[in-house]
C-alpha cells in the first residue's frame, strides 16, 4: 500500500472548505503491523477511510495491492475493498439482526451472491479461531463488547484480505479484552502475513507493533 502526497479536503470549492490531510506519504509492505497514533481530530480516521477506499482523496495517489485507485469508479473500488481490505471499527459495527457466524459470512456473501455450506463452515472456523465457538449462533447484539469486537475481527479476516484497517478497536474495551483483541490481530498478522494498520491511543499497545506513525494536524510527524 502506497500513499503519495495524499490530501483530503471537505466541502471543496466552498467557503467552508477544510483540508484535514496535507500531503500524506506512507508505504506499508505485506506483513507490516503498524500503529497509528495521534490526538483526536488529527485526521487518523480520515486517513483510514481513504486507505480503506471508503472515501476518495482530494489530491495525491493511492495504491492498494499494487493498483492505483484514484481513477477507479465506485464498482471497482467496492470490488477491490471487498476482496482485499478488512475493517475493524471502534464500535465493532456488527449487523445486529444476524448471528455472529452470519456476520462473518457477509463479506463472502456480498462477493458471491448466494450462501453456501462451505461459506458457513469457513465462518464457523473463523469464529472458533477467535474463541467464540459457543456463541457462534447468538445474535450479534446479544454478545458482550469484547465478544462483538472479536466477531468484528473474524469478519474483517473473512476474505483473507491483504490489509486490515483497525480504527481504535480496543478503545471501548477493558484492558484484558483490549489485550485479547490486539493479540488476535497480531496472531493473524504473523500467521497469514496480513498487513495491519492499527489506530490506537494506547502507547503500550503501540509499542508492541512493528512500527508506529504519528498523525498530527493532518501530517505524519513520526
Amino acid at each position: 500500500m502506497r500513499l503519495r502526497g495524499v490530501k483530503k479536503a471537505f466541502n471543496p470549492g466552498t467557503p467552508l472548505e477544510t483540508e484535514v490531510l496535507h500531503g500524506i506519504d506512507l508505504t506499508l509492505r505485506r506483513g507490516d503491523f503498524c500503529a497509528v497514533m495521534g490526538p483526536s481530530g488529527s485526521g487518523k480516521s480520515t486517513l483510514l477511510n481513504l486507505i480503506g477506499l471508503l472515501d476518495r482523496p482530494s489530491a495525491g495517489t493511492l495504491e492498494v495491492c499494487g493498483e492505483e485507485t484514484t481513477a477507479l469508479d465506485d464498482r471497482a473500488l467496492t470490488r477491490l475493498r471487498g476482496h482485499n481490505i478488512g475493517f475493524v471499527f471502534q464500535y465493532h459495527h456488527l449487523l445486529t439482526a444476524f448471528t455472529a457466524v452470519e456476520n462473518v459470512m457477509i463479506p463472502k456473501l456480498g462477493a458471491r451472491g448466494f450462501p453456501s455450506a462451505q461459506m458457513r463452515q469457513e465462518a464457523q472456523a473463523l469464529i472458533e479461531s477467535v474463541g467464540l465457538k459457543p456463541w457462534g449462533n447468538n445474535l450479534a447484539g446479544n454478545l458482550s463488547g469484547g465478544q462483538q469486537q472479536r466477531v468484528a475481527i473474524a469478519r474483517a479476516l473473512a476474505m483473507n484480505p491483504a490489509l486490515v484497517l483497525a480504527d481504535e478497536p480496543t478503545g471501548n474495551l477493558d484492558t484484558k479484552s483490549a489485550d485479547a483483541v490486539f493479540d488476535l490481530l497480531r496472531d493473524f498478522n504473523r500467521r497469514q502475513g496480513t498487513t495491519v494498520l492499527f489506530v490506537t491511543h494506547n502507547p503500550a499497545l503501540a509499542a508492541r507493533c512493528d512500527k508506529t506513525i504519528e498523525v498530527v494536524d493532518g501530517r505524519i510527524t513520526g
Partner: protein
C-alpha cells in the same frame, strides 16, 4: 442462515423487515386495509353492475330489428335529374302503420349465421283492447314463437301461476292486469284490435316481470294468433336477437343493419342513461382505487425512508464489507415489494372475508342475497401484482438514497 437458499439481497431484506417487526406489521396492516377495500369495492361494483344488467336484460333482448318507419318525402318539381326545388313547404309526418319487416325469414337466416349471435326470435306485437264485463283495458299483445323467445326472456321463470305452454287460443297476462280484471288462469278474455278483429283467448298463465307497468300492460300469445289479431298475416313487427357478449351488442347491431338493411337497435343504445350511470360508477370506483393505491404507495415509501435513516449505519457497514450499490438498491427495493406483496396477501384475505360477510349479512327481506358477489381469481391476482409493483415503485426513491449513501457518513450514523 435460515434462508440459506436465498441470495444476499433477500436475506438482508427479510432480516431488516424482521428486525423492525413493529414497523413491518403496521405498514402491512395499512397495505392490507387498502388492498382489502379495493378488492371488496371492485367485487361489490362488478356484482352490482352484473346484477343491474341481469335485471335489465332478463326481460328484453339485446338487439331489436325494427319494422321500417314510414316517411313522407317532399314533392319536388320535375327536372332532368329529379332534384328540382321543393314544392311543399310543410311536410307532415305520416301515421305509423303496423307493417311487417320485409322478407323477415331471410333476415332471420342471415342474422342467425352471424358470429356472436345466439338467438333470433320473430315477434308480432301491437295494441289490443281487453274487454271483461263492463271493464276495458288497453294492453300490448306480443306474439311469440315460444321455443326461441323463451331463450331470450325466460317466461317460465317469471310465471306465478299456470303454464308457459301456449296454444293458439291461449294468452299469458301479467299479475297486475289479472288483478285489475279480476281474472286468473283458465278464465276467458275477449280481445279486440284496432283493425276490428276480435277473439276470445284463455288465460294459460300469470307472470311477474318485476315491473308493475309491464305486468299491467304486457300479454303474450302465439305468433300466429297475434298476426291474425294485428292484421299482419305472415308478418312480424320485430326480430329479437341475443348475442354472446352483451357489450358487443351495439357493434353487432350496426353490422346487422349494414348486412340486412333493417334498422337494428341495441340495448346499449336504448339504455343510454343506464349505461351512463354504470360508467359513472366505474369512474368513481377507479378514482377511489387510485387514491387508495396512492396512499398505500406513500405509506410504504415513508416507512422505507425512515428505515433507510435507521439502517444507515448497517448500510455503511455493508458497503465497507464490499456490498455494492446495486445490491443495497435491491435490498430496499425488495423490502418495498415484500411489504406491498405481504400487505396484498393479507388484503386479499380481508377482501375475501368482507365478501363472505356480505353474502351472509346483506340479505333481502325474503332472505335471499341482495345481489351475488363472486370471488374471482383475476381480481385477487391483479391485486397481488399491482400491490407488489406499487411497493417496488414506492421503494425506488428510498432505495436510491440508500444506495447512494456515502459509506463514511453512513457508518458515522
Amino acid at each position: 442462515m435460515g434462508t440459506a437458499w436465498l441470495p444476499l439481497e433477500w436475506i438482508v431484506s427479510l432480516r431488516f423487515l424482521r428486525e423492525g417487526r413493529l414497523q413491518t406489521v403496521f405498514i402491512i396492516t395499512g397495505v392490507a386495509i387498502g388492498v382489502g377495500v379495493i378488492v371488496f369495492m371492485s367485487a361489490l361494483l362488478s356484482g352490482m353492475q352484473a346484477n343491474f344488467i341481469r335485471r335489465v336484460l332478463s326481460t328484453q333482448s339485446h338487439i331489436q330489428l325494427l319494422q321500417p318507419q314510414q316517411v313522407t318525402r317532399p314533392l319536388r318539381s320535375a327536372g332532368r335529374s329529379g332534384t328540382g326545388p321543393v314544392e311543399g313547404a310543410i311536410v307532415q309526418p305520416p301515421l305509423q302503420q303496423n307493417k311487417s319487416i320485409d322478407q323477415w325469414q331471410a333476415v332471420v337466416q342471415q342474422v342467425r349465421a352471424m358470429a356472436g349471435v345466439r338467438v333470433v326470435s320473430p315477434v308480432a306485437n301491437g295494441p289490443l283492447l281487453v274487454v271483461r264485463g263492463s271493464s276495458t283495458k288497453a294492453v300490448n299483445i306480443t306474439g311469440i314463437e315460444p321455443e326461441s323467445y323463451y331463450r331470450i326472456v325466460n317466461l317460465d321463470e317469471k310465471l306465478l301461476r299456470g303454464v308457459s305452454r301456449l296454444a293458439a287460443s291461449d294468452v299469458m297476462i301479467g299479475s297486475e292486469l289479472a288483478a285489475d280484471l279480476g281474472v286468473d288462469v283458465g278464465d276467458k278474455l275477449h280481445v279486440t284490435s284496432a283493425a276490428g278483429r276480435s277473439s276470445v283467448l284463455t288465460i294459460s298463465g300469470v307472470f311477474d316481470l318485476g315491473n308493475r307497468g309491464s305486468n299491467r300492460r304486457d300479454t303474450f300469445t302465439t305468433l300466429h294468433t297475434a298476426q291474425s289479431l294485428l292484421d299482419m298475416p305472415g308478418g312480424v313487427s320485430t326480430l329479437e336477437v341475443t348475442v354472446q357478449d352483451i357489450y358487443a351488442a351495439e357493434t353487432i347491431a350496426q353490422q346487422i343493419a349494414v348486412l340486412t338493411g333493417v334498422e337494428a337497435d341495441s340495448w346499449i343504445k336504448n339504455s343510454a342513461q343506464f349505461f351512463a350511470a354504470v360508467s359513472a360508477q366505474t369512474t368513481a370506483n377507479t378514482a377511489i382505487r387510485f387514491f387508495v393505491g396512492l396512499s398505500v404507495a406513500f405509506g410504504i415509501a415513508s416507512v422505507l425512508v425512515v428505515s433507510v435513516v435507521q439502517k444507515s449505519r448497517e448500510i455503511g457497514i455493508l458497503r465497507a464489507m464490499g456490498i455494492s450499490q446495486g445490491q443495497i438498491l435491491r435490498v430496499f427495493l425488495l423490502q418495498g415489494g415484500l411489504l406491498g406483496l405481504g400487505g396484498a396477501v393479507a388484503g386479499c384475505g380481508v377482501g375475501a372475508l368482507a365478501i363472505f360477510l356480505w353474502k351472509r349479512l346483506a340479505l333481502n327481506a325474503d332472505g335471499t342475497v341482495m345481489f351475488p358477489l363472486e370471488m374471482e381469481a383475476p381480481l385477487f391476482v391483479s391485486a397481488l401484482v399491482l400491490a407488489g409493483l406499487t411497493g417496488l415503485v414506492a421503494a425506488f426513491a428510498p432505495a436510491l438514497r440508500a444506495a447512494r449513501m456515502d459509506p463514511v457518513v453512513a457508518i458515522r450514523g
